[in-house]
């Protein structure tokens, strides 16, 4: 049951925010469009991963590339959501540095057929930093509408909860795979899947607030 929950049910829930986004035509709003594309990409990657897994092909190299693509999507989302970041050189530096680091990691440091337990937590750290920067920036603005009516607030909250809670899991993933029992492995997998589900629900809540006037 847990296996089904982790490998089928939760990955399938990506259809909830995607469906909501398409119905609400959120692609007219630039940050939401980037998030929608990210979810589509995540959904497709999950399907490919599953197919590879079913054919007993090691799908971990896909994770290395997925991490880079996920990072780029989320960075673009923040660049479009935080006005100050649109022209900042820091965001462009981050755009280039992390993918470079990630490629160096799987070429020279970690095996591409193992979990990327160095680069994935680093990507999570940068994303957590940007989430906090978003909240800091938000608190400095004079906001005229309630917090819950702003779509980006929900999406950033979802990202913050997911990446900060999964941070330790990302870092210890190789250790868990190699040393922990199957039971423990699935417990951690279940927790991670629940966090993914929570992020998808938060993104859905954000998409529901998008107004295309």
């Amino acid at each position: 049951m847990n296996h089904l929950y982790v490998t089928v049910i939760v990955p399938a829930t990506v259809l909830i925010p995607i469906g909501t986004g398409l119905i609400k035509t959120v692609y007219k709003d630039q940050p939401s469009k980037t998030m929608l594309l990210y979810l589509l990409f995540a959904g497709i990657t999950d399907v490919v991963e599953r197919i590879m897994g079913l054919h007993n092909i090691n799908n971990l190299p896909l994770l290395h590339f997925y991490t880079i693509a996920e990072y780029l999507f989320i960075m673009r989302f923040f660049q479009l959501s935080i006005y100050k970041l649109r022209v900042s050189w820091i965001i462009w530096a981050l755009f280039i540095l992390f993918p470079l680091l990630s490629v160096l990691d799987f070429l020279f440091i970690q095996n591409i057929y193992e979990y990327n337990s160095y680069s994935r937590p680093i990507s999570a750290l940068i994303i957590i930093g940007l989430c906090m920067y978003y909240f800091l920036n938000y608190s400095n603005q004079e906001n005229k509408t309630p917090w819950a009516t702003i779509p980006v607030n929900w999406i950033v909250t979802g990202l913050l909860i997911y990446f900060s809670s999964s941070f330790a899991y990302f870092a210890f993933l190789n250790l868990i795979t190699q040393k922990a029992s199957d039971n423990l492995y699935f417990i951690f997998g279940g927790i991670h899947a629940t966090l993914v589900l929570l992020m998808y629900l938060m993104v859905t809540a954000g998409f529901l607030q998008v107004k295309n006037e």
Binding site: N143, L175, A180
Partner: protein
């Protein structure tokens, strides 16, 4: 060391999750409180603006009524008297002299009444003698009645003579209102008005040695006070009239010299 690394990992995930969720919830609560306070402030400002507007309208109506009464009671009555005098004119040599004298007297009275009304509408001294000259004239007039001694000190190096028409009229009306309040409510014997320059501001201090606002039972803003606030607001001046511990009534007005 018997610690289970997986249990520690589980605790870490749970701890971070709770920390982040708590942070977000506190942040949302804080933002919503801030928004609520902003809205309350906007509402209060709107109410205040409405009060000021109401005061302006009420004052205008009161002024119109007063002008109407003055015209009716003084000018109207004098013209009626003149009409009666003309109707009763008897064309004899002695009557012509009396008639001429009566007419001249009534015409003089009408001229005086009209002048009085027009002076009330717009003090002519402001154009002729400037703000300070007109205010000194008002002070002398009040002092001459013996009810109140009004002292004016100008340390602005003639800045007060360079006031624009709107600043002059607004400040003159404010002092008329303040002096009127002092005479009516303060039970004071002396008023000091000081004009100074502090940095880029003209600082005007009004002080009477009366019983103060609290003792006069005027803690709520009456129409006169709202008129003062409205007139000062028009010329961009800030004021303060609550100085705990000081005797009598005090008001401090600050006006940027650039606005003069």
């Amino acid at each position: 060391m018997n610690d289970n690394v997986y249990v520690l990992l589980l605790i870490s995930i749970g701890g971070v999750f709770m920390l982040v969720v708590s942070f977000v919830l506190i942040f949302i609560r804080n933002q919503n409180n801030l928004l609520k306070k902003q809205r309350e402030l906007q509402q209060a400002q709107l109410m205040h603006q409405q009060d000021l507007l109401k005061t302006v309208i009420v004052s205008q109506e009161a002024e119109r009524k007063r002008i109407g009464q003055d015209l009716h009671d003084d000018v109207g009555t004098a013209l009626s008297n003149m009409r009666i005098t003309i109707e009763m004119f008897n064309n004899t040599a002695t009557a012509v002299s009396e008639f001429s004298s009566a007419c001249k007297h009534q015409i003089d009275k009408i001229v005086q009444d009209v002048r009085h009304i027009s002076h009330n509408l717009s003090p002519p001294g402001l154009e002729m003698y400037g703000f300070m000259g007109t205010l000194e004239e008002l002070a002398e007039f009040i002092t001459a009645t013996g009810k109140l001694q009004v002292n004016i000190t100008d340390n602005t190096n003639s800045l007060t003579d360079r006031f624009g028409a709107d600043v002059s009229l607004s400040l003159y009306r404010v002092f008329e209102e303040l002096l009127n309040n002092t005479i009516k409510h303060a039970n004071a014997s002396q008023v000091n008005i000081n004009f100074d320059i502090a940095d880029d501001y003209l600082l005007i201090r009004y002080h009477d040695n009366g019983q103060g606002i609290a003792a006069a039972g005027k803690t709520k803003k009456g129409m006169g006070r709202q008129n003062i606030e409205s007139r000062l607001g028009i010329i961009g001046a800030a004021y303060e009239d609550d100085f705990p511990g000081r005797t009598g009534f005090n008001m401090s007005i600050r006006l940027k010299t650039d606005n003069i």
